[in-house]
């Protein structure tokens, strides 16, 4: 069986894509959905501090960026489009509402000993990928 150079390159490229997709599916990857970094940068008052909190949160949370971005977005929303579509004010309102819901439901995460809303920990963890 002979394989043309074009076919070989095509198969190789396909393999790379497949491996990348598998990797991304395996740990969520480290790439943020479009717009996510901008929304978080506008929201967080202390980006460096939030990054440190996020790195600490990730020590106890193996989820990758895509999983975190999905968790942080509204239920059912496509994170690949939601962060780019939502404006800063709506993003802030969404996060604040989620924080309220977390505490009302007792959903907390411990980061550096702080009892934070789970959403706060996820936000910082996602930001630490930026």
């Amino acid at each position: 069986v002979t394989v043309s150079r074009r076919a070989f390159l095509g198969a190789a490229a396909g393999g790379v894509v497949a491996v990348a997709l598998w990797w991304a599916a395996r740990d969520g990857g480290s790439d943020l959905p479009p717009g996510a970094a901008d929304r978080m940068a506008a929201f967080l008052a202390d980006p460096d501090g939030a990054r440190r909190l996020g790195e600490a949160a990730r020590a106890a949370d193996p989820r990758g960026a895509l999983e975190l971005a999905t968790a942080l977005a509204p239920a059912g929303a496509d994170p690949q489009t939601w962060y780019a579509r939502v404006d800063d004010a709506a993003f802030a309102a969404h996060v604040r509402g989620r924080v309220d819901d977390d505490f009302a439901a007792g959903r907390t995460a411990t980061v550096h000993g702080w009892w934070l809303a789970r959403t706060e920990a996820e936000l910082c963890a996602l930001w630490s990928f930026a």
Partner: protein, 496 residues
């Protein structure tokens, strides 16, 4: 009349119908209540009018368990007792503190709250606390008028502590009353070194007293009230071994056991984004604050129903200075994060200081040491530790508080421990309780509901030593209330 035996050659009388050992707040309350009665009363105080080094040395003691417990610094032999050092914090026990709470102790107090309640008014009069109730509702208008904001959420309550107005030292405050009493004589520098039991052990016939200049005296009596604190009361009972090597009232090996403190620990850090108006000075949740003509301090607590549901002991939380380095705790990062997630522009950081109820544990106890003091009385040894069940519950209370502060949009809390075994240094409030606990069953308590030592018909204890459980409130107000109740019992000449 007050007679200082170090200044006058007066001898002790041969007999007094009632002997009160110790002129601290309980002893003074008894003396005032018995003044004018038909009884001839002698109050025997080891110290003088002021704190003296040589007298204080009689109380030197050793400790084990929690490191650094200030056992000597927290006791005073002088007219007025430890009120010479105290901060004048007053609060009654809560009714639920006396009730049966099986998660705290197998049994509650044998005294109903309604039996104790009437004596709190008198205790407030003795201690200069003013006649008003402690209810927050009573004080709400005055607090508002004083611009004192309150933290109140569905699961966080504010409780009030009152501060003694005027002279804190009860020996000074009530000296004139003691001087003027026609039937109560207060002897200073009269150290009771032993209770003398009747031949059959059923009563106390006299007290042996060490006097200045190496003299000794024996004072016959019909009734003895041991009104020393929660450490010296068991010491005297245990050291009075002439009749029984186990001591007086110790047939069930209970004297000295079940020592309780109010563990004090700076257990958490906090970032506050709501109610930042709280953090002007003075801070109501940290320090006594002028409210009208009173000094009030607030403390946060969890509702009693929640404590019961979670099976937690009582506790309060106040604000304190920040001990952790900010970088270590990431407090600035959290402050900025929470400002964003709560949509606030202001914030403040404080540590959270916990004052908690401790469960009575038989291994926390006062025993006699191997050495003796200048009068030959064995020194005491205290073993005190905060056990894992209490630590776990204090940690759980912090978690509940953290979630509630977050839910209410007030702030966030950081545990200053990674597990209950890694608490910061635990200290105490100089509150010595439980070592002659009250229970109607002689197998479970040293004294009965009348504070009379089981099996000894004329010996009583007026002290926080009798507390079977301790709640979170500072004990002095309840000590005095119980002393006044005991005075009524003695005046009625009844036994129950």
């Amino acid at each position: 009349m007050i007679v200082d035996l170090a200044r006058t050659p007066t001898a002790l009388p041969r007999r007094a119908e009632i002997v009160v050992v110790g002129a601290g707040p309980a002893g003074i309350a008894l003396a005032r209540a018995l003044s004018g009665s038909p009884f001839d009363v002698a109050v025997l105080e080891s110290g003088g009018r002021e704190i003296e080094e040589a007298t204080a040395e009689l109380g030197a003691a050793t400790t084990s368990g929690e490191p650094g417990y200030p056992i000597t610094a927290s006791r005073v032999r002088a007219l007025g007792g430890t009120t010479a050092l105290w901060a004048g914090q007053l609060r009654p026990l809560d009714p639920s503190d006396l009730a049966a709470r099986p998660w705290v102790a197998p049994r509650g107090w044998p005294v109903a709250y309604d039996e104790l309640l009437p004596y709190y008014d008198g205790a407030l009069e003795v201690l200069g606390g003013g006649p008003e109730p402690f209810d927050l509702e009573h004080w709400r208008p005055a607090l508002a008028a004083a611009d004192v904001p309150l933290v109140e959420t569905a699961a966080i309550e504010t409780v009030l502590f009152r501060t003694t107005q005027g002279e804190l030292r009860m020996g000074v405050r009530h000296a004139a009353d003691l001087e003027a009493s026609p039937n109560v004589t207060t002897y200073l520098h009269a150290t009771v070194v032993a209770l003398v039991a009747a031949a059959d052990g059923s009563g106390i016939t006299a007290v042996d007293v060490a006097l200045p200049g190496g003299r000794r005296g024996r004072l016959d009596t019909g009734v003895v009230v041991v009104a020393t604190g929660g450490l010296e009361a068991p010491r005297l009972l245990l050291a009075s071994r002439a009749h029984d090597p186990r001591g007086v009232g110790n047939g069930h090996d209970l004297v000295g056991r079940f020592f309780m403190e109010h563990p004090h620990v700076q257990l958490a850090s906090s970032v506050w984004t709501g109610a930042v108006e709280l953090f002007g000075l003075p801070i109501f949740y940290a320090l006594p604050t002028p409210v009208g003509d009173r000094l009030l301090r607030g403390a946060l607590t969890l509702p009693r129903a929640l404590l019961e549901e979670e099976r937690l002991p009582a506790l309060t939380v106040t604000l304190a200075g920040v001990e952790d380095a900010p970088a270590a705790s990431e407090a600035p990062a959290v402050e900025a994060l929470v400002r964003a997630t709560e949509g606030r522009t202001e914030s403040a950081t404080h540590d959270l200081f916990v004052r908690a109820e401790q469960r009575p544990h038989p291994d926390n106890r006062v025993t006699l040491g191997d050495t003796v003091d200048a009068y030959g009385v064995p020194r005491l040894h205290l073993h005190w530790e905060v056990h894992d069940d209490d630590r776990r519950d204090y940690a759980r209370a912090m978690e509940l508080l953290a979630v509630e502060l977050g839910r209410a949009g007030l702030g966030r809390v950081r545990a200053r421990f990674s597990s209950p075994e890694t608490f910061p240094l635990v200290s105490g409030g100089h509150h010595h309780m439980g070592t002659a606990r009250m229970d109607d069953d002689p197998a479970l308590g040293v004294v009965d509901r009348d504070c009379r030592v089981h099996g000894v018909e004329n010996l009583y204890v007026a002290s926080s030593a009798v507390f079977p459980t301790c709640g979170h409130a500072n004990p002095t107000l309840t000590i005095v209330a119980l002393a006044l109740r005991l005075a009524d019992h003695l005046l009625a000449g009844t036994t129950s």
